[in-house]
Symmetry: C2
Subunit: 244 residues, 2 copies
């Protein structure tokens, strides 16, 4: 997360980074028919937060976000979308950060650049859960997935940020055809439907969903997948491209 947390110790003096502005990432994964979010834990201070980071003085803001997601997941080619700037003055609260710095034994004074007001540019990322390797940053010690309905209390307005990320994801699901970014390279129609149902929070009719997805012309049938269970084997699909 940003707002001061998860900063790179090599730059703890603020040299080389933009001040007052940071990025946060809501990194979504999908597993066991559940939508998951990647969170950092600062266990010494008992604090949970979204992954985030700062912007180097000559770095594109979008690249800073890519860097953060790459560092937390080990993944390169991920779907990443800027969705909102959280910039209310009232959200600014440096007490959790002080707690983290104190717990970590970092020296600081009240004028430390990390304790000043920050606004954050927020992104959501869709990653392949099976390929991601969660890794904490320099300050935190745990980085792991949480089901959306079992998220611990988070610092500042990070819970609202997740809520807004989710509703943005919901809005763009049909229009931008982004659901498949949460799945491995090959998947069954039932897998895809589970992604949609979980994100939208409602059941979809199987036959209607299948007709719609096939009608988009972006799915390629690969082979049959024998699940080892007593029924017809479903096809495996791969996403190929945008419709013509």
């Amino acid at each position: 997360m940003a707002d001061g947390y998860g900063y790179d110790k090599r730059a703890a003096d603020g040299k080389g980074f933009m001040h007052g502005i940071a990025i946060d990432a809501v990194i979504f994964g999908f597993h066991d028919r559940q939508l998951k979010v990647l969170l950092l834990e600062y266990s010494l201070a008992g604090i949970f937060a979204l992954p985030g980071g700062f912007i180097r003085e000559t770095e594109n803001v979008n690249d800073a976000a890519l860097r953060v997601v790459r560092e937390r997941t080990g993944l390169g080619n991920i779907f990443l979308d800027q969705f909102y700037v959280f910039g209310d003055y009232g959200r600014f609260d440096n007490r959790p950060l002080k707690a983290i710095m104190q717990a970590g034994g970092t020296a600081f004074d009240e004028n430390h650049w990390l304790l000043q007001r920050f606004i954050t540019v927020d992104y959501y990322a869709l990653v392949d859960f099976t390929k991601a390797v969660p890794a904490p940053d320099e300050e935190s010690d745990i980085c792991r997935w949480y089901d959306l309905d079992t998220i611990p209390p988070l610092i500042q307005d990070h819970k609202q940020i997740i809520a807004k990320a989710l509703s943005t994801l919901q809005d763009g699901l049909d229009k931008k055809l982004i659901g498949f970014n949460l799945l491995p390279d090959t998947f069954t129609m039932a897998d895809l439907q589970a992604v949609y149902e979980t994100i939208l929070g409602k059941k979809l009719q199987r036959t209607v969903f299948q007709r719609k997805m096939l009608g988009l012309g972006i799915l390629q049938r690969i082979a049959k997948k024998h699940t080892g269970r007593a029924h017809k084997a479903p096809y495996l699909y791969r996403f190929v491209s945008q419709p013509a």
Copy 2:
């Protein structure tokens, strides 16, 4: 605009404002069946730009945007939507600002806070053209409407910002029901259709459009409008609320 332009002279020393971050506003109006954008001109320097401004140290970012739009248009209750952060390092170019400062006789040195890198949070606003009273800011001398297809060369990436604002507007037109923000309190169905056609850049079928709009249940019929021409008088409508 921001990126250094249009700053408040009382704070030219940078005290009281956040550094490195600014807001720009793409203010849309509608008149003569044309979509228009409000631009500032710095005629001494021969430079055109979007209206923008800075964020006071204790001000919400969204409030800073509201303030800018209010100052340029004289309007209070306007529709305003944050749509993107432009944060590429490559977009940063302080030469136009230097030109403006020189033309204005403002003293400055290379380390002036306005000459450092800025990223901008960008908003689009939809205002009632008939009520807006364009007003330049402290540095510029002309503030006026431009048709979208006769926009002069703009500083930095302001042309791209307008393009992105327009496509965001297009995407949200049906979903968010925002078209009416461009019209006066009462309007005919033909007026409304003209707004939609201009924004979307294509003709719509009159009867289908009318059925759709009436079906939303958000229009109230006020009275007949006698246009003075040889045909049936259209109804005047008023927007009442979101559909139930």
